[in-house]
Amino acid sequence: MAELLLTPLVRYCEIAALWVRASTTYRASFWMLTVGGFLITGVDFVGIWILFHTVHSLGGFSLREVAFLYGGTGLAIAIADLFVGRIERLGSMIRLGRLDTMMVRPVPLLIQVCADEFALRRIARVVQALVVFGWASAYVDWSPGRVAMAASMVVSGSVIFFALFIAFACLQFWTADSAEVANAFTYGGNTLTSYPLTVFPGEVVKALTFVLPLAFVNWYPSLYILGRPDPLGFPAWTQVLSPVVALAMAGIAALVWRTGVRHYRSTGS
């Protein structure tokens, strides 16, 4: 089991490390890209902060509580994007025949696709989310249970976004220019979960629980950590389900990926 998980991870890191070393980005451009990556998601939080100049709470949650939610989902998607974000380019890899060349190499295809042109600068988004998350965490009344829940939240949340990135990118096996559909679910999901779900109608929350389980990225674990009863009256045990949901999502994503690869038609002659 350890072997099964560890070997691909090692292969990923090896390829990623070579890309970092071989990075062809010019120095000035590297720093601008890094700072830009920090700012481009950072302005979203500044936006929330501005909203709180007008109101004192959003959906019954204070700025710090919203910041905790924002940081939780932000961290999850940033980590997922750092490691598997490149899969967005699957369509162009197919078009350019790069996927063919990856397929005749002895490293799992998914690892190669995700590690391709790995760029360390994408860590800027992780740092940005971490800053907000850290600031919000300073006001949490921590207990061992809550710390454990926070760790589980970040890991499970990342895995859920991993799965979404991969599963929706697989659409590109069938229609190459559908990359943006994935955005609606990944980045759309990220925006959605940046706010307390009490802002949205109950149907949305149910959909985010039973259909596209994004509520498990940060909402349910955060309710536990912030010590708040579920506003929609879901039982308390939903708050510990995130790891289970994450595993299920990962399983579905793996299945979709395998199906996609076996249906792959390659291009051209």
């Binding site: 010019y26 890209l33 909203l51 007008t54 709470s57 559908s178 990359a179 959605l192 706010y195 802002v199």
Partner: protein, 266 residues
Amino acid sequence: MPLHVSIATRAFRRYSTYTAATLAGIFTNCVFGVIVCFVYTAVWDQSPRAGGYDVQDALTYAWLGQAMIMTVAVWGGGSPDDLAERIRSGDVALDFYRPVGILGWYVAADLGRATFHLLTRGIAPTIVGALLFDLRWPSGPITWLAVAASIPLAVLVSFSLRFLVAASGFWILDSQGTKVLAASAAVFFSGLTVPLVLFPGWLQDVAVLLPWATFLQVPADIWLGQRSGLEVLAGLGLQLFWAVALLAGCALVLRTAERKVVVQGG
């Protein structure tokens, strides 16, 4: 002039070939539109006159924002991306020897692109938004006319900024970094993140005068009737001022770059 029309038409057609991408984009715009509407509803429920908007104004603003994202290419893109690529590959040197002005060429191409995006990713989400929420419409033909004048001006301002960003590649070779920085400024100061009317104090005083304010805030305020009479003219005037000033900047930058490329050979 017919040449520029045909450049614009070609750009329009180029984008119209990606049907699946367009539909996917419209879908994404709609998803974000709905999310923003629920957030704005929560805000305006508590503070019904925030920023001088009522809740209907706010919801309309949310969908206008989605409509303008691709039309003015807030995140970057459009014909300046082609320029950036030609600078990177060195092909731009050939452009300087063409008998047609570079700036006019790229303006025409971007207007063609913007027309396509307005007709698809501008109008479609607005219709969806109107079906889902009660939106406000321009109050009369004069307002419609002012909106119609405001949108191309917004595209021109945004084009010049994107062109300047791409042209930074003449000096730093790879303009991707500048592009990301410019995009984060554009997303925030255009009022896409939150309407500029909610910005606190001095930040708002400054933001409404910056070129990015002309992307969304100015056309939206004309649409919503937040600007009326002379204020409409003042808004269009601000757009015109930035369009002329920045296009002049583009021309100046091009002349400097030409000297660099042609004399030093790239």
